[in-house]
């Protein structure tokens, strides 16, 4: 009996899990336009997510900017192209570093909080109670959380971009002896506005993925408090993998659609 239960694992299990996740995402999209929109829950969640992510984001963004400045600065000096330091910084930070830092924080800090919250509601049967009282938790709890995660990711991305560029400036000008004028002037040499938009769109997608995976894992937690812990763990790992993959795909598409400046 026990043995047969354990050996009932089938090779199609991962496929089924993926299918369930997509089914869940579809259900969320279907619940999205349903009225009335839960503004209160949305604002509460957005505020909560912002409060757990803003400080770590700022703290991560500064060393991110500094590291990139260090790398790029050294490389550029060898080429003798110091005047492009600012441009390279903007490109690196806005296109790559900001969305990645946002992704890490939204998944690590925001997603885990969402997953733990929904998971503990699930094991306390609060979600069942809600369904019995005629409220769909997907509409009531998940939609505001997913939108909140997207909203906060959008702003975090802007924050990382600004803080990263400022950090790079400080590093480049003060520590590496670059000139402020050259740094600022080169901004427009290689970078262009679509870079920023692309970063923001990426951030929105990251928020969406993190919100959906965290909600899915939370609402399907089982087996008591340990189940919730496992769900949080899995949700963070799965979100990371999906985010890095999505980042790669979107960047590839971006280079096809928007030709790099000066090329």
């Amino acid at each position: 009996m026990r043995m047969s239960e354990r050996s009932s694992w089938q090779p199609t299990a991962p496929l089924r899990a993926t299918g369930n996740l997509f089914g869940f995402a579809l259900d969320v999209f279907r619940a999205l336009p349903r009225r009335p929109f839960q503004w209160r829950e949305f604002l509460q969640q957005a505020w909560f997510l912002a409060s757990v992510t803003i400080v770590p984001t700022a703290l991560v963004a500064i060393p991110f900017g500094a590291v990139i400045a260090l790398q790029v600065g050294g490389l550029i000096k060898q080429f003798g192209a110091q005047s492009f330091a600012g441009a390279a910084m903007v490109l690196a930070v806005v296109r790559e570093a900001a969305p990645i830092a946002t992704a890490l924080l939204i998944a690590g800090a925001g997603g885990s909080a969402i997953c733990a919250d929904l998971g503990s509601r699930k094991i306390r049967e609060e979600l069942d109670a809600m369904r019995v009282l005629g409220i769909d938790p997907l509409h009531r709890l998940v939609v505001p959380r997913v939108l909140g995660a997207m909203f906060v990711a959008f702003f975090l991305n802007g924050l990382v971009s600004v803080v990263g560029v400022i950090g790079g400036y400080i590093f480049n000008v003060i520590l590496q002896g670059g000139t402020p004028g050259a740094y600022l002037a080169s901004f427009t040499a290689l970078a262009q506005l679509p870079d920023l938009w692309a970063g923001e769109i990426k951030a929105l997608v990251f928020g969406l993925i993190a919100g959906i995976v965290a909600s899915y894992k939370g609402m399907n937690a089982g087996g008591g408090p340990k189940g919730v812990g496992d769900a949080v763990n899995q949700s963070v790992v799965i979100t990371f993998m999906l985010l890095f993959f999505a980042n790669f795909v979107m960047q590839a598409i971006y280079f096809q659609v928007v030709p790099p400046k000066g090329a």
């Binding site: 047969s4 239960e5 009932s8 503990s120 509601r121 306390r124 049967e125 609060e126 069942d128 109670a129 809600m130 369904r131 019995v132 009282l133 005629g134 409220i135 769909d136």
Partner: protein, 328 residues
């Protein structure tokens, strides 16, 4: 008025493990029903199937013109408006205090003003004896209080069908007595159909119109209270009289060796204790679906155990045996 629930050939399993199969029963409109069964036989799972939280593998659940086993999500949310459900652990919303928990269904489903809501909520909170605790969070109160708050929330929309999962576990005997009276009174006032899962033999013997017993992956018996209390069926008899002797063992059913040893030792079930009178509404008026004491026994030519339907029969089974032994 209450609503009839008709369950036909219901089967539920989790990952190949059958919980129960072919459960067929009808919860008659406006009657009080009790579901018994050893721990882990799937009573809570049965309740969750009845409200459509779990989909059965096979079978039908007919409520009015709907079949809950096959209907879609939207229809399900519609049918659920008939239900008031008390979960085994209360299932209160942890982020809201008791007042907001009880007010939640009213705020979601009615257009009442806050002052109307307040008067309804306070009335229900008083009904379950929680006045003064309404500002507390669910994490700050005892299990018995959580259960009573869950009950208040289940009652607030005046449901036609009330499903209570162990309303009396974790309650002291006095609160349990009040709760049983409350159930009978509510049934009289609202005419709702009740299904109560309980482990309290006293409740099972005195409150319901019908008793059901889930055991060993099937419905062992479902029928009028007097029928079950007169039953000579070993499982029913063992369970309704809280005995160790009989087919139910500690882990699950006893194996052949244990049963043989039991038979060899000459241990036999004591005679059936007298059937107590059914609990009556506190205003003395009969309930709509109440049947006269002894009617079923009379109609079916079954002789009830001696001493049945006496007003002074003690309701506690242990005490009943003591009286029996004293007389012998």
């Amino acid at each position: 008025m209450g609503v009839e629930i008709r369950v036909e050939g219901l089967t539920k399993s989790f990952g190949g493990q059958v919980i129960w199969r072919d459960v067929t029963l009808t919860l008659p409109s406006g009657e009080i029903n009790v579901m018994l069964g050893p721990s882990g036989t799937g009573k809570s799972v049965f309740l969750k199937c009845l409200v459509g939280l779990l989909k059965p593998d096979r079978g039908h659940i007919y409520i009015e013109s709907h079949d809950l086993a096959t209907c879609g999500e939207r229809e399900l949310y519609e049918v659920r408006k008939l239900f008031g459900v008390l979960f085994q652990d209360g299932a209160l919303f942890g982020s809201m205090n008791l007042y907001d928990n009880v007010a939640f269904p009213l705020r979601e489903h009615t257009r009442r003003s806050e002052s109307e809501i307040r008067s309804i909520v306070m009335e229900k909170i008083e009904l379950v004896g929680l006045l003064g605790a309404e500002r507390k969070l669910p994490g700050e109160i005892s299990g018995g209080m959580r259960k009573r708050a869950g009950l208040a929330r289940a009652l607030v929309l005046d449901p036609q069908i009330m499903l209570f999962d162990e309303p009396d576990s974790g309650l002291d005997p006095v609160r349990t007595a009040y709760l049983n009276q409350l159930i009978v009174d509510l049934n009289q006032q609202t005419g709702a159909t009740f299904l109560i899962v309980t482990h309290d033999i006293n409740t099972a013997r005195t409150v319901p119109d019908n008793i059901g017993l889930l055991y060993h992956r099937h419905l062992a018996m479902f029928g009028p209270r007097e029928m079950c209390l007169c039953s000579e069926e070993p499982v029913v008899r063992q369970f309704l009289n809280a005995q160790r002797i009989g087919p139910i063992g500690m882990a699950e059913e006893k194996d052949a060796d244990e049963l043989a040893a039991e038979a060899a030792s000459g241990a036999a079930l004591p005679p059936l204790p007298p059937i107590p009178l059914q609990l009556e509404p506190s205003n003395g008026l009969p309930r709509y679906t109440q049947r006269p004491a002894g009617q079923w026994c009379l109609a079916h030519g079954v002789k009830p155990p001696p001493g049945s339907f006496q007003p002074n029969v003690s309701t506690a089974p242990g005490a009943a045996f003591a009286a029996e032994r004293g007389r012998a």
